[in-house]
């Protein structure tokens, strides 16, 4: 167990270093960062001073490690556009994105799982076919289109839900939440559905496929032969065995939800990190873009790590138990 965790953590560190390298190379691609910072007209001596101050005259490797070191110590630099420390910017935006991603994930899971189980248990029923067709739409419709259609229907035509923003937020220490106000709840519904739609279809199809697969196994046949009730077989034996791959995908998809919330955030003007990133791209605000990349990478890696550890909870075969040597 300890060896396993250690190995995973080392892998995670390696991945993060790679992500940091990509983020770091952003700075190189976009011309002279000093000119970007201070503009063309600054005198040469001034530029050299800044260059030395930022260690830009040192070898690339040294610069890279300085970059990593800064990030690790929480010094994320400042935004070129606004001059605000990036750490502060991200801290403001992170709760919005995470709340949106989690709401989208819960929406996808809460609807997708039961639909998947149902279509797996009754593959021939008419309702199952309907679900499958709907899921095909969910997979193939582009996110922004779903968002725009929702806005059109619920904001423009019906006027039930706000078309943009996050509603009123409540600050709880460093965390700002929209989930404690009515307008916050109203605001998150459509973005969460938009963001979760693809994942919903994905989870449904995955659960269905796994369910069909598991129902064909010998242990399900044996469970039937033992006379267990359908409920025990379907929701105990079968569902539990489908959970392993589902956890993997859902976990990975949570990362994807965070990363791909960019589109949803821009459609709904959701004040999250994705929107921040888009603004940063428009202004070539490299430090913000770089830190965004690193942060997203970090969330991905963190989620993967948690998923791996969750396996242990679900699958006893992975819990290596020294005391239980195999009998003859």
């Amino acid at each position: 167990m300890i060896a396993f965790v250690l190995q995973r953590v080392l892998q995670a560190v390696a991945v993060m270093l790679t992500v940091a390298l990509v983020a770091f190379s952003l700075f190189r691609f976009v011309g002279d960062p000093v000119i970007n910072m201070v503009g063309q007209d600054t005198p040469e001596e001034e530029r050299i001073r800044i260059r030395e101050q930022l260690a830009l005259d040192k070898p690339v490797v040294v610069q890279y490690f300085r970059f990593v070191q800064q990030i690790v110590t929480g010094n994320f630099g400042t935004s070129l556009r606004t001059g605000i420390p990036i750490g502060q910017l991200m801290a403001e935006r992170l709760p919005a994105t995470l709340e949106l991603a989690i709401a989208g994930g819960i929406f996808a899971l809460a609807i997708g799982m039961p639909m998947g189980v149902y279509t797996g248990l009754y593959p021939r029923s008419g309702l199952s076919r309907t679900f499958l067709s709907i899921s095909l739409i969910g997979v193939s419709l582009p996110t922004f289109l779903i968002g725009i259609l929702l806005i059109l229907l619920f904001s423009v035509v019906l006027g039930w839900l706000p078309s943009f923003g996050r509603g009123d937020v409540v600050h709880l220490g460093f965390w700002s939440t929209g989930l404690l106000t009515a307008s916050g709840w109203q605001s998150i519904i459509m973005p969460a559905i938009t963001l979760g739609m693809f994942q919903l279809a994905l989870i449904m199809r995955l659960v269905r496929a796994e369910m069909l697969e598991v129902l064909r196994t010998d242990y399900i046949k044996f469970a039937r032969a033992r006379g267990l009730s359908n409920r025990a077989i379907h929701f105990g034996h079968a569902l539990r065995n489908t959970l392993i791959p589902v956890i993997t995908i859902v976990g990975l998809q949570l990362g994807a939800l965070i990363a791909f919330s960019i589109i949803t955030e821009s459609v709904f003007q959701w004040p999250g990190m994705g929107l921040l990133f888009l603004q940063a791209v428009q202004f070539a605000d490299i430090p913000v873009m770089a830190i965004y990349l690193v942060l997203i990478g970090f969330l991905f890696v963190l989620i993967n790590l948690v998923v791996d550890l969750l396996y242990y909870v679900v699958d006893p075969r992975l819990r290596v138990d020294v005391s239980a040597a195999r009998g003859g």
Binding site: D218, Y219, F222, A225, R226, G227, D315, G327
Partner: protein, 329 residues
Amino acid sequence: MATDRSNVPLLEVSNLRVEFATRRGPLVAIDDISFSIAPGEVLGVVGESGAGKSLTGTAIIGLLEPPGGITAGEIRLAGRRIDNLPHDEMRKIRGKEIGAIFQDPLTSLNPLYRVSEQLIETIRTHLPMDASQARARALTLLQEVGIPGAAERLDHYPHQFSGGMRQRVVIALALAAEPKLIVADEPTTALDVSIQAQIISLLKRLCREHGTAVMLITHDMGVIAETADRVAVMYAGRIAEIGPVQDVVKRPLHPYTTGLMGAIPAIGHDVHALTQIDGSMPRLDSIPRGCAFNPRCTKVFDRCRVERPDPIPQGRTAVACWLYDGAGR
């Protein structure tokens, strides 16, 4: 409904027919077979791969799955017809009155549940016991099937047991509610040769002690010779010959059985290796007219190619072969 007549066989299969619906019409996999099993009796079922042995067992426990299904005949358990029961009624019979053991113990147990959980849920599904009574029974069962250190191993997961031990757990599960009949479909084929004999003798001993009848499906004539009271030889979805094991083994009547019995292998040997019959069993969609065995039979004559032979009684044996029509008796 008649139940307690002492001469009623425990299991009575009559004129059973199992078909698969296919796009090109029904495919007959079990064609009009009849046999019975007395209380406490061990009926061996042998035959080449694809003869319909598993399908017969599956039909009895009511687990045929579409497109397969029973299209004719009936199955009676202690006089009560069970082939047309509603799903939930049949569920109550499975495990309670008919237990089942399948080929592969490695995959018969749910990997995510402790052995104790699987035993207890089975016990409590069928017997009116509370959790602690069921647990006590689970422990007794594990001890009965000879799992060393049963008390400690009760809460282990299946992957913590070896193949042989897992099959013992499977046997414990099949016996959990004291069924009157166990359908054992090649219970040792997937096991190490060295363990096969142990498992068979365990099964035999337990069933004798509990008075449980067994339908023992196997490829292994050696197992049949040592374990079964009677044996049914299946060929292409029909019963070629059925009778007391000594008779069938020592004096096989059907030309197919004669071929099979060319030599009785020691336990653990596969009958295939010793089969000296030329050719192979026909596929379901190309079973010849008349006797299904006629293309391979050394004694074939004209009638065999036209008329299908039904089982003809020969002493305690019944044999589906025209050679015995009018003969004997």
